[in-house]
Symmetry: D2
Subunit: 302 residues, 4 copies
């Protein structure tokens, strides 16, 4: 495994330069593009890493998995009255579908759905951002996980489209808390800084029937894990979920910080990271690395 | 397994009456609704059946898998210049997305995509309908598989929406053969009559790395099988692909005749059938039966 | 004329009860539905009234004409870089078109366009709401015109959809001032209370080549008047602009308070009012009254 | 008037070269672009012409007015059960709106609406194309008006998008005759060749309360004329109806052959022609000429 990871890093690193670092906010645009890391954590407790696997980055939409886990944990199936689990077939931030479907987002991994999940969580936690940060610390086993307040503030400043989505849902009665407060929580979650190793550790429960391999904590039931993995498999990569299934064949979730997590059910939790994105907003080199990895070991679940 | 299938049939049969037989053409509307069958075919060559597993029915959109296999076989990756493999997020027969995306269908399992696949196949076979029928006979091992010409004629008569889609794609330059001829082929494919046993046999290669368990014929490469299964997993059940992943967790494809095929990679090919549909156009009882089956054995790939 | 107005009031009053008072905010829903008024003001300075022509009501979207006149007055043709003057073909508050057309509203008489106009005006006036109120007082000759602060506050509380539109435009770079401040101005404008007589007086300049018949003030040039009347003719009644042209044949603008103003170029300014709306959001009895009036005198400009 | 027309021709001719001749079919693309004509026919029976006013051209969508007049003549208000008279706010050949509004076209001057009108007429005439040609001959007083069969055949060959629209309407039950036959009629109508003088003569009844100034024939009632003019005013120039109202201020109808007819109610029928189109598909120089004409004489109805 270690040799394979090293080989993949070596073979995919030359692709750096073909993508484009997210620059919709200055705080993200400044990241050094020439970085690439991978971490694979097995259910046996073995950790394999290569490249910049220890460097923290902005997890961005990968935080949507944490949020969903929180919401499922305290509210269970009831959350599905507020949103669906179908692929959207639309760019990740489109309002067209949201309006046509009367304020019910397609799934929890597009921005609109994640905002509804944050709204649900906002009703359950006194300090939602701290609850999320503490969960990330606990599951990753890294007490140094922090929220990057500069990134969070910059996201808030450029909140226009997410604010539009939240108000549109409010107009359909599908947003219950103060829009501004939920947006602040949402941007705090996105601004968590974690490394590939942190994330591979943190999501081990998705590969291990709901029990964190690191801490032994039961996070969810085995059935809930297959459900969350199913949603990642059909909706985890924005408008490239089908491509990810076709090329990689694993449940996964990406963020515009360049990270992608993936799960080999019952075996491994994985995280790759490289900041440059393809036109669909997913890490260009990260995708390539995951495809090689999955192809070489034959990990596709299909 | 046999006991489980019998139990599932017994427990789900009472749901008959809650759905609605497809009636957009008279020839389909006349089917006896009170039918339910299941067939499971293992890579060891064992066949398990329960209920009306030997009764032929109209396979309808399940034929889209046959068409795609044909197209991949003779044209390989080149077909993806003509269509995608992303979920559509739209009702199965919507033209809105097709127009906004300039005549490129989202995937081969919505009607528009299947029409493009038929157009591709039309350029390769002298007699496309016979080629398809013979493939179905060969893979199912049943020389009695026939095209129901009454159903095909009735579908042709009610071709308006599919004709609209084909002409719209032609207007974007993404349809090369005579619209009418392709429509006739398409409806012939949909009008194939096969039983659950036929279909479980026919699709064994999708559970067996591309080799038909019945005949030993290599139909595709292992890599191609994971790709086709991936497309079924993300787009096989129209606007309920996410729901199918969440509830059943297997690659699958449904038809408005009430059939659903599913694949447990490396282990089983499955077909259930019950004519009544839910509002999304998928077999209501069939879905329930598959969910029970998958849940009880823990078959979800996620 | 007086006899005709009386007859129209008498013949259309029985239609009261067929429509529905706007009730999206409590402050509007409480209006007494059994009211109907009409005022016709000629370029000769004659005023004809019938029914409840002196009763002030919430002018709502009729204020969009005032806003547009302000914007044209200080910024001229430059405003058309920020929005268009084409009919929208969409419900008055849809965001679909706004997103597809990248934040450029179709015209100044749908909500999104009026918000852009308010944003333009916000950059020009120290106190936009007072500037608007004073303009309404001056043009109507009624110093008693006021902003109903209860209505304005209630609209603000239910601002979700308009806030969504404003933020969506901001995300496309087509909104320059603080969203909240502009929304407050916008709702203040909508909450102006004026009577049929006030409005017939106020809009006399649109029937009089740009000169207020009441005060003699030149408000705009003759060319600008034909332009504003043209926009009212093609876009003044939301999704019923075509119907209004077909049935009435005059430039006009409606509001959900039940008022409709209309212009007979070079001859008359008109206002009808009855609170009950048809499904398109226009005064049901008001439309009928205007149709009778226009038909009987042969006022259609077409 | 004559001097003004000559001046307009002289001043606008230099704009030739800025537009683009319609080239979606070869038979249209071959027209000499350097042509410009205008004809104005007064209710006093005076005819003024300038430039290439006697040169026949392909009237294309101007034929939609003839079709609508036919349909209104034999079926009256009943036609409005099959289509509307609202502006579409969409490109002239979009199917998106048609699907969302379940097969009911917005108005008779977009392609989909004109196809429904042709379908209505097809049920009323034994030989619809000849009926249309004879009507054009009678109203223009020119027995030499013919259908250009090369253009009609070429349009038929490139029928894909119109065929798609017709089948889509059929799928909603809003198309009653054989699609192919109606398409042939539709393309024959579009392929009529008439000059500016022919068209100014032919549409004199729209400026003359329904009576042809040329022949004295009553074509429609005065009320019907205001209705048809109203539809032209709000929907006659595809996605530029608002612009035409803003700039010209007259009811009008354009065709991709480069012709535009316009009506000064109770005074003049007008036709301009120049083959090059602007991006919205309307004659670039023709629009400019009409704007100058209307502006100089103060013809805007608004």
């Amino acid at each position: 495994m270690q040799a394979l990871l090293d080989e993949i890093i070596e073979q995919t690193r030359p692709l750096i330069g073909q993508g484009k670092v997210a620059n919709y906010i200055p705080a993200l645009g400044g990241v050094e593009p020439n970085q690439l890391g991978i971490a694979v954590y097995s259910n046996d407790g073995e950790l394999f890493t290569a490249g910049d696997a220890q460097t923290p980055f902005s997890i961005q939409s990968i935080s949507k998995v944490f949020s969903l886990v929180q919401a499922v944990s305290h509210s269970g199936e009831a959350i599905w009255e507020r949103l669906g689990y179908e692929p959207s077939g639309q760019p990740f931030n489109s309002l067209v579908q949201l309006e046509l479907e009367r304020g019910i987002p397609r799934n929890p991994f597009i921005n609109t759905g994640a905002l509804v999940i944050c709204d649900i969580n906002q009703s359950c936690y006194a300090a939602p951002s701290l609850a999320m940060r503490d969960m990330a610390r606990r599951l990753s086993g890294n007490p140094g996980v922090v929220i990057d307040s500069v990134v969070a503030a910059s996201e808030y400043e450029h909140r226009a489209r997410n604010a539009a989505a939240a108000y549109l849902m409010q107009s359909f009665g599908n947003f219950h808390n103060d829009v501004d407060s939920v947006l602040r929580s949402y941007f705090n979650h996105c601004a968590l800084r974690m490394s590939c190793v942190d994330l591979a550790h943190a999501f081990s429960f998705l590969a291990n029937q709901g029990v964190s391999r690191l801490s032994g904590e039961r996070v969810m039931s085995p059935r809930q894990v297959t459900q969350i993995n199913a949603i990642m498999a059909t909706s985890g990569l924005y408008n490239e979920a089908g491509t990810f299934a076709y090329r990689v064949g694993l449940p996964g979730k990406s963020g515009v910080g360049g990270g992608i997590i993936a799960v080999v059910p019952d075996r491994y939790s994985i995280c790759v990271w490289s900041p440059e994105l393809n036109p669909a907003g997913n890490s260009l080199v990260g995708l390539q690395a995951l495809e090689m990895l999955s192809d070489r070991i034959g990990w596709s679940v299909y």
